[in-house]
């Protein structure tokens, strides 16, 4: 699922660099990424390595506080998938956020152009001044990532912490992640940590059949949904940990 630019194989030297990059803390972006925000060739994306996710919700709460997201709504959340029959039962964790799709349905349906994809970096953002709160985008998003903000009356969702990223900081969820499960960066830069991780791991995206080409990639994601309970005659329970109880 990695973009073309990151598909090329890594040399050994680059592979060693991966280790070095992983060793540094993820609190800030590498200088190359930060300075590149002014160029036109950036393609921001996120990898979530669920093997390192322990379902702690630090990302969800960091996001709530960063944006003072009103109760009942979420830009970032963590779903739990519990399945199996005792004692062979597992629980896995699936952090969720806007996928910043390459072909976003939300942008297509917006009547005012308020929802748009930032040409210089690929982030899908909302210009609040011209959003009329019609809710088309909320219906259109196949991931349930959007909501109508009761404070502003406009559509709202994750914007990869654009205000932080443009200052050279990683998004708030990445900054706080206990397991360092989230890797954020520019997949057009073959030397970026995210490009290397994408090139050396099998990844998946959510609902690829929708054709939206998401930019949030998962390592080892559990895509089980409730329908699998019947299909495989087993127990499946999904907790979304938000007001919207049904997983979208």
């Amino acid at each position: 699922m990695a973009s073309d630019s990151s598909k090329k194989t890594l040399s050994r030297r680059q592979f060693l660099k991966v280790g070095a990059a992983a060793a540094t803390t993820a609190a800030t972006l590498p200088a190359t990424v930060a300075s590149a925000t002014t160029k036109q060739s950036i393609h921001y994306a996120m990898v979530i390595d669920t093997r390192r996710c322990i379902g702690c919700h630090a990302c969800s709460v960091a996001c709530k506080t960063e944006f003072e997201v009103p109760l009942g709504e979420s830009r970032s959340w963590v779903e739990y998938v519990e399945k199996g029959i005792f004692p062979n039962v597992r629980r896995s964790f699936l952090p969720r956020l806007c996928n910043h799709c390459d072909e976003p349905d939300c942008v297509d349906v917006c009547p005012t152009g308020a929802t748009y994809k930032i040409a210089s970096n690929g982030i899908v953002d909302i210009t609040k001044d011209i959003c009329i709160g019609c809710g088309y985008c909320i219906q259109a998003c196949p991931y349930g990532a959007r909501f109508l903000n009761p404070e502003t009356g406009t559509a709202d969702k994750c914007n990869f912490c654009l205000h932080r990223v443009s200052e050279g900081l990683v998004p708030s969820c990445v900054n706080t992640c206990q397991g360092r499960a989230r890797i954020f960066g520019d997949i057009n830069d073959p030397d970026s940590e995210i490009s290397r991780v994408l090139a050396t791991n099998a990844v998946s995206v959510l609902r690829p059949e929708m054709g939206t080409k998401p930019n949030v990639f998962y390592i080892d994601a559990d895509h089980t949904d409730e329908r699998d309970a019947e299909r495989y005659n087993t127990y499946v329970r999904i907790d979304t940990h938000r007001r919207q109880k049904r997983r979208v």
Partner: protein, 846 residues
């Protein structure tokens, strides 16, 4: 193929990331300064940042607090902390909600009307403190300072020293209660019996295998963030195996390589059987055998290695894996396999927590765990179970001439109920007050402690605290109007931890001490005043000045008195940077192997005790003469451990496992003469749980647990946390539910010997059949709108989210139930630990 140059590079990188097994990594990890910047998402303006310290839980992680227009808007981890490496949990992130909570107590309040009626009068601080000082002065001047009882929940480091040692010490009361027995005090007693001090650090950075009995380290632990991310890293980057024994699939169990659903209260049996395997199969050979030199296995302290091995083999012979299978439901082959893995993958780390220790047999479970770690050579070594290392602050001790303190004997439970309750029996304080045989306090004061909600038997707690004939005057110091504050006579408003000063010292995961401070990010809200400042004021009013005027001054003086901190600039350095550790410090392992120079044990007052092999100073032990000391002996002299000098082993004297609370020897004691003299088994021994022995066919075990987004009882007002976790239906296996005609989501009644509660059923395969689990955190009836739906007396309506508490709306999730209504206050007979996990219940559909 990797060429040599690349290979060398790989080695260098591996050393930095922790890939090389057995290397000591903490030296290599010096983090660049990267934090401290935050920006407003609406204006893009840079936010003001203050390096401070979290206090959501006792882990106390260094943080950075961001403000906009004097309002706290965001909290992040402190990237320069060697403990946390800059990450922060959900609870820490939710700290924003503590300071901005719309239901805070904003000014002193005096009860009018009946106790608990909820009628209050706003009073000035002068009025409140004059009354309080008057009452305390009267007690002191009458020679009965012990009738002032102080009991605390969240109080550590500088606040503890200032309030307990300095203020209460100067005043003269020793009637000081804590809350440790409802946490994990029993685990600490077991540590004090075995290796002297308390607290174990799990060295995940250097370990190769982790065996976990009843710790939910990925969600809740007293050193959560310093340990949990390190365990994730060890597993993800080095393939370290994690095996978890738990009755339910906690998130820790879920992320483990192997989850072993053990029968409640039988971890002890499994651990004993693992010791059996290690001894029977000679797996102690190697590091375990080498460590035995420092281990006391027999009543005599000078047994030979051969005698020790024979004694261990004999002791554990009866605890076969087959026997343990009968007790625990864990197959013998599984026990045997895991024991072999643990013993042969060195270094390996043994974790335990409340799942194993909050039982009738918890003391023995922890002593058995210490034994298993000891005989495999995994004690205080890189990658093993290590003795805790924290910052050693110096601080002002206040007036020199303190009175000899007097105390009511109500903090350790009735005499004999627990053999060695070194961390007291806080869950018995209410019962002791009710009984009255050992006296009652005239003034009962609680600091960040909720006796009502935090202990078992809630109904009895309410009844006692409401009764003015039992407790004439109750003062509650609290940022929030919780269930206990609602029953107070006087509430003194405390700021939240984002508005106050402290120095901090929590345990370091890298065995290098970290100094750090807490400083206010904003001015204390309303009329709230740090209790540290309040006691300085109270002391002045009682004519016993402490020598400083405020907590800030206390912290500043401590910074200037502490050599490591002073050397880099003292208070000013700490205010600017928040954290400090001495660069290049070597991690502290194997401290017990330190030899004591002859000058220390051939010295004035120091004598050798034949019975224990301990050198001790009889003068420091307050004996009148050497002959008196020799006649009484080290073991039987009151608090002789304070006079411990060293342990003779062979022809050398070592620091050993220095005693800290009990008169044990300097050996790692697997054989406890102390317990033997108290009528308990000297070596870790199986103890069946009485309630579990007589369970009927319809009975279920009830256990409790904590989740990753809530603190035990002090976070339900945090709206972002409670939005995620607000309801706690009882986990029940579908097999048990089917038998009772219960479906998922059904209302059920849970009945224990002391009462019943109604809740909902959550049918899940993630729990062992025969067990139900109900979490803590929920079911509040005070504490503010997000927690309970009830506005506090000084609540404000400035937060629009108070209109959006969707989970409290009709037909939604609700606010859950508090399990403590049906859990009895009952102690471990050895250490007094509250037995949270032993309750037997029946359930039925409502």
């Amino acid at each position: 193929m990797i060429n040599r140059r690349a290979f060398l590079k790989l080695g260098a990188i591996s050393a930095a990331t922790g890939l090389v097994t057995g290397s000591i990594l903490s030296q290599a990890r010096e983090l660049p300064h990267q934090g401290g910047r935050g920006f407003s998402p609406t204006t893009g303006q840079r936010r003001r940042s203050v390096p401070s310290t979290c206090y959501q839980c006792v882990t106390r992680c260094p943080n950075i607090i961001y403000t906009e227009n004097d309002r706290v808007v965001k909290v992040e981890g402190q990237p320069n902390s060697i403990r946390t490496e800059g990450v922060m949990c959900a609870k820490g992130q939710g700290a924003v909600n503590q300071v901005n909570d719309p239901d805070r107590v904003l000014y002193p309040m005096r009860r009018v009307g009946k106790r608990g009626e909820g009628k209050w009068k706003r009073v000035s601080w002068d009025e409140a403190l004059d009354e309080l000082a008057g009452r305390l002065k009267t007690l002191r001047d009458a020679g009965t300072p012990e009738k002032f009882m102080f009991q605390y929940g969240r109080m550590k480091a500088s606040t503890s020293k200032l309030v307990k040692s300095v203020f209460l010490g100067t005043y003269g009361t020793g009637t000081i209660g804590n809350h440790t027995s409802i946490c994990e005090g029993g685990k600490w007693t077991a540590h004090e019996l075995t290796w002297g001090g308390h607290y174990d650090n799990w060295d995940f950075d250097n370990t190769r295998y982790v065996l976990n009995f009843g710790s939910n380290v990925f969600e809740a632990h007293t050193n959560h963030i310093p340990t949990s991310p390190r365990l994730v890293r060890a597993m993800a980057e080095r393939g370290v195996k994690l095996v978890t024994f738990d009755v339910r699939l906690s998130n820790t169990a879920a992320k483990s390589d192997e989850w072993v659903p053990v029968k409640p209260g039988t971890d002890l049996a499994v651990i004993l059987a693992m010791c059996n395997v290690v001894m029977r199969e000679d797996l102690y050979e190697g590091p375990g055998e080498a460590f035995l030199k420092f281990v006391k296995v027999t009543r005599r302290h000078d047994a030979t290695l051969e005698e020790k091995i024979v004694a261990l083999k004999e002791h554990f012979a009866e605890y076969t894996p087959e026997w343990a299978e009968q007790q625990s439901g864990v197959p013998a082959v599984t026990i045997q396999r895991i024991a072999r893995e643990f013993a042969t993958t060195h270094p390996a780390c043994l974790m335990t927590y409340r799942g194993a220790v909050a039982h009738y047999n918890g003391n023995e479970a922890e002593r058995a765990a210490q034994t298993l770690a000891a005989i495999t050579g995994n004690i205080d070594n890189p990658g093993g179970r290590c003795k805790a290392v924290g910052a050693g602050w110096s601080y002002p001790h206040g007036p020199k001439n303190k009175p000899k303190s007097r105390k009511l004997k109500i903090i350790d439970g009735p005499p004999g109920l627990a053999a060695v309750p070194t961390h007291h029996m806080s869950h018995y304080v209410m019962k002791m007050i009710k009984d009255g045989s050992w006296g009652r306090p005239d003034v009962y004061m609680t600091y960040k402690y909720t006796p009502i909600y935090a202990n078992g038997e809630v109904a009895e707690n309410v009844e006692i605290l409401k009764d003015e004939s039992l407790i004439p005057f109750y003062v509650n110091i609290n940022p929030f109007y919780d269930e206990s504050a609602a029953l107070a006579d006087l509430i003194l408003p405390e700021p939240t931890f984002l508005e106050r000063w402290d120095w901090e010292d929590m345990v370091s995961p890298v065995q290098i001490p970290e100094y750090y401070i807490r400083q206010p990010a904003v001015k204390p809200l309303g009329e709230t005043r740090d209790f540290g400042d309040v006691v300085c004021d109270l002391a002045e009013r009682m004519g016993m000045p402490l020598g400083f005027k405020s907590k800030e001054e206390f912290v500043r003086l401590s910074c200037e008195m502490t050599p490591d901190v002073k050397a880099v600039g003292g208070f000013e350095y700490m205010k600017k940077n928040g954290v400090y550790h001495v660069p290049g410090s070597k991690p502290l392992y194997y401290s017990y192997t330190k030899e004591i120079p002859a000058g220390k044990y051939v010295a004035d007052g120091v004598i050798y005790d034949e019975d224990t092999g301990v050198y001790w100073n009889w003068k420091k032990a307050h004996h009148h003469s050497e002959s008196e000391a020799r006649a009484k002996g080290y073991a039987h002299t009151k608090k002789a451990f304070k006079a411990y000098v060293g342990q003779r082993i062979g022809d050398k004297v070592y620091q050993g496992f220095k005693p800290d609370a009990l008169n044990k020897s300097g050996y790692f004691e697997l054989y406890s003469n102390i317990l033997e003299e108290k009528g308990h088994k000297p070596r870790p021994t199986w103890m069946a749980i009485p309630e579990h022995e007589k369970m009927g066919p319809n009975d279920l075990y009830m256990t409790t647990y904590k989740v990753g987004v809530q603190i035990h009882s002090r976070s339900a007002n945090c709206k972002y946390l409670t939005e995620i976790y607000h309801d706690n239906p009882a986990w029940i296996n579908p097999k048990d539910a089917d038998k009772r005609g219960i479906s998922d989501g059904d209302a059920i009644r849970v009945k224990s010997p002391i009462g019943e509660v109604e809740t909902k059923a959550r049918l899940t395969e993630a729990i062992r059949p025969g067990v139900i689990a109900i979490s803590h955190h929920c079911g509040h009836w005070q504490y503010g709108r997000y927690a309970s739906g009830n506005k506090s007396p000084s609540g404000v309506d400035t937060d629009p989210d108070t209109k959006r508490i969707w989970w409290q709306e009709e037909g939604r999730d609700g606010k859950g139930v508090h399990p403590n209504w049906i859990i009895a206050n009952a102690p471990d007979p050895i250490n007094g630990q509250q037995r949270w996990m032993d309750t037997v219940v029946q359930i039925s559909k409502v």
